[in-house]
Subunit: 361 residues, 2 copies
Amino acid sequence: MVDRVYNFSPGPGTLPVEVLQQASKDVLNFKETGIGLIEMSHRSKEFMAVADTTESMLRELMEIPDNYKVLFLQGGASSQFFMIPMNLLGDGKKATYLNTGTWSKKAIKEARLFGDIEVAFSSEEQTFNRVPTQDEYSVDSASEYLYFVSNNTIYGTQFSSFPETDKVLISDMSSDILSRKIDVSKFGLIFAGAQKNMGPAGVTIVIIREDLLDKTPKNTPTMLTYKTHADKGSMFNTPPCFPIYVVGEVLKWLKKKGGIEAIEQINIEKAGLLYDCIDGTEYYRGHAEKASRSLMNISFNLPNADLEAKFIAEATEVGLNGLKGHRSIGGCRASIYNAFPREGVVKLVEFMKKFEADNPA
Amino acid sequence: MVDRVYNFSPGPGTLPVEVLQQASKDVLNFKETGIGLIEMSHRSKEFMAVADTTESMLRELMEIPDNYKVLFLQGGASSQFFMIPMNLLGDGKKATYLNTGTWSKKAIKEARLFGDIEVAFSSEEQTFNRVPTQDEYSVDSASEYLYFVSNNTIYGTQFSSFPETDKVLISDMSSDILSRKIDVSKFGLIFAGAQKNMGPAGVTIVIIREDLLDKTPKNTPTMLTYKTHADKGSMFNTPPCFPIYVVGEVLKWLKKKGGIEAIEQINIEKAGLLYDCIDGTEYYRGHAEKASRSLMNISFNLPNADLEAKFIAEATEVGLNGLKGHRSIGGCRASIYNAFPREGVVKLVEFMKKFEADNPA
């Protein structure tokens, strides 16, 4: 076995070591075919089976209803910021967005190219330290959809319960998909870049209710039309084969762990260890308001920037990597996605206590 | 070593086994960092070095002038079909296309959404069995650019010399980039999906002259604007890290082989072995006219479809995989990209001769 470090990277994020070991074999010689997975035709029966398995595992684990399509697209979550309004809006059409961080802000900017965008809530003035409760915003009756980001990677906030609305509900779940049980039938569209909870960078999952496939305006480029990919099982053109394969392996790993309900309990416990540490002292200060705290990304500060820099440097030395906060907010951030092991969280908490004792403010 | 088969797949295509072996190690533990390449932050110094190496190797091998940007994008070559006209055309603007196969036809369809498209040559009525000579078409003086596909994967045709024009020259080189020496300075934009001559599926290389970055119409989505990616070194959002890494490894392999001039000689010799076999008998018939023959994809027919099916099945049994022609043309196709070994071509020629002797028409 390799000497693994604890990788707190916000994304691409740590993956299960069993998955890496399997990928290491399959890259070179997939299932003893004499062809490596990454040089195999996407139309071969072997790769078609890989893609089918990835989709069916996702459907099983998330209990995705039959009237939803699962698409494997390229371009990152950032491409969904324009693809959603490009497909669902058009001249004179309206949509409502909740502005709870960098990613919703970018999505709003792109959406404004395609329709009339209402921002019904924003925590930007509070440095995005919270997400709204249901009574803090209302949705215009003319809106085609309500868009929100379920977990904000940078600010460490998360919707603990989802917006209730009679509109089509759309969510960017890039950083918390598969981390907790959700009811897909409440959503019109869910999307997520793979590189946090699902696999490597290079594939974005879109789960879309079938009736939304018919809303795309004429003259939309073929590759940007959801229906193109839905009709061809994401094989209209060559898909990102290797990322799709790894997502499938991660899903198999998740199923073996007991599925989403089991991982959700582990995630609650892992985050609890860290928040208990933060709450037990004045030395560490969590960025997010308590009711908005994320189970995936814990953003926190030390008494000053010098101590933060020292903290990150010394943590790296003892094999706790990737704890530097995002440049837009500074401080520290521990990203503890599904595949991040509990032992790493325990080790971080021990380190935090020792660092506080050794480095009084 | 694994028991490799000869993989004639048109793409994703065979890769050098040394590259697969290196990737197999790095996926699990990149350079002894204790983190696998596919779970590593794209902003880490380790991955930034990978991306830098890939770009600088490509610049060195292709002798790309300094006034060109190299972009690593997602969405496949198919996304360039609309991105090029979306960025370079607009109301009332015109462009000229040469229609020499399935991929140019698809590109023309998308371009028509963004401007006035002139098709100056088409070999569609001859089942795309040839590419034009310079005197077979002219380019409207109002055209913004002239677009052509340098090698047609399906029909096995290739431009042996490139169009001469005073317009911006744009080429889809997906299936022959790096296979022969070209003068990049003659082009405004070159693009190529990686999965034939460069690496795995999931990354598309765009080489664009800097002055073209300023032509994009306002209100183009951020992710679809070339300048976005040019200004951020293809790190505006999370790039397809693993495909970029593998491309870098393939480029290192190519340099060790002697670079593009050396591989071009090998490619000429490899294709020559196959064309000599085809020309030495009436049994096999090449699809392309001789002057338009591709060095990358050799599409050919046997006396009838039953013999073709038998040929493909028996070839597969002896470890010659992926010889089935594209569904739009039928017959057989041998794709022999840079990484396809000469020994495999020799083995195919031997098999063809034996098959002909054993199975008279």
